[in-house]
Symmetry: C2
Subunit: 224 residues, 2 copies
């Protein structure tokens, strides 16, 4: 949120900052910059937006790739909340409420310009960090949702009958329906639901309202 040092100015007095502060400024500026133009964006333009000279970037990050790695680290890894899995598994709360709570918090956490666009850019580049992130989503969110859905429907648990890929795909559908709002808004810059909260609960209701017979079929083992 904070707007740092993008004076876009011309001749600005030399300012000497504590290294940590300058580094933080560079990283945050890089996140905004690469989110906007992609990772082919040029270091000179980034420096210009920060109001510093380009060689200064290379004092703090030996290469452009090092800076990009730092951007990944900052954007992806710091935002994951392990408690999401706990929330989803808390059977003292109705499943619908659990899903709504999770998706409200998840979307509040990752729905911003920087996160969504950097996620898409790095995904298209085939970056490994993207794959790792998706694996975590699959294991810590989607598989858990499938397990809770099984329990809700009185079906055998994952330890008895392993979660099928088809079931994960169904959980992906709900996930995609909600996440795609972020894609529409920040990647495509299109209008989106003005009230995200209502949209999320609608989607959870639709999902839970229609998913039961399909899951039963899948778990019964009608192989494709």
């Amino acid at each position: 949120m904070s707007t740092i040092g993008d004076l876009e100015g011309e001749t600005r007095p030399r300012r000497r900052l504590p290294p940590e502060e300058r580094e933080r400024q560079i990283v945050e500026g890089a996140i905004r910059f690469f989110a906007e133009v992609g990772f082919d964006g040029q270091t000179r333009e980034l420096a210009r937006r920060l109001g510093i000279t380009q060689p200064l970037l290379f004092r703090y990050f030996p290469t452009k790739d090092d800076l990009i790695d730092r951007v990944y680290e900052e954007v992806y890894l710091r935002r994951w909340k392990p408690e999401w899995t706990d929330w989803l598994e808390d059977r003292s709360v109705p499943l619908e409420k659990r899903l709504v709570r999770y998706y409200e918090d998840y979307s509040a956490t990752i729905f911003d310009y920087e996160w969504v666009r950097i996620f898409m850019f790095s995904g298209l580049k085939g970056e490994d960090i993207n794959r790792r992130y998706l694996r975590i989503v699959r294991e810590k969110i989607l598989a858990v949702v499938c397990g809770e859905l099984r329990h809700e429907l009185g079906l055998p648990g994952p330890d008895e009958v392993p979660i099928r890929p088809d079931e994960i795909d169904l959980a992906w559908s709900l996930h995609a329906a909600i996440f795609y709002v972020g894609v529409r808004k920040y990647a495509y810059r299109e209008p989106v639901p003005k009230e995200l909260s209502g949209f999320i609960s609608h989607n959870v209701r639709i999902f839970l309202g229609g998913v039961a017979p399909v899951v039963r079929e899948l778990v019964a083992g009608r192989d494709a």
Copy 2:
């Protein structure tokens, strides 16, 4: 599908092609190339993959942007089928079947490496052609789905009560759930449902199985 001229070779005899054929070869190579690396990909590398020299590209396309525009034209515009709207409106067929038929054909049409990736790249660039495409989807698909859904539920038609943005968002959810399979496969290069047909019918069933009460609420006019 056809693999054209990517010999990747070193010294290759000069081949003189009829202009139309050479142009087609360049356009198809450009589609594959830009889909892979994005539009920041370099003309020299594209030429190398085509097995021609770089200046030859500029004989056929005055600038790189002209070539990119041609790529857009080729990838987007040639794939839209106006009959999709007719299919969705054909009330002699049950709505579930209409939706399944449409999404099977739609996904068969656009689910390939080139289309999905170029769509994402151009979307991230904020290209106008992307916005135009999304508007067509909204007007010719999603709004139609909402209208048919209203009819199915005995609710007033769009001429009496205009389709609300919330309703369009619900149709976006089904659309996103299915399209995101393409994103996972071609943008992220992740595993996806091995049987797309089953996945589509599952999603349509879930959607239709759970959407009724939500749509009734929305059309009744409970404003957010």
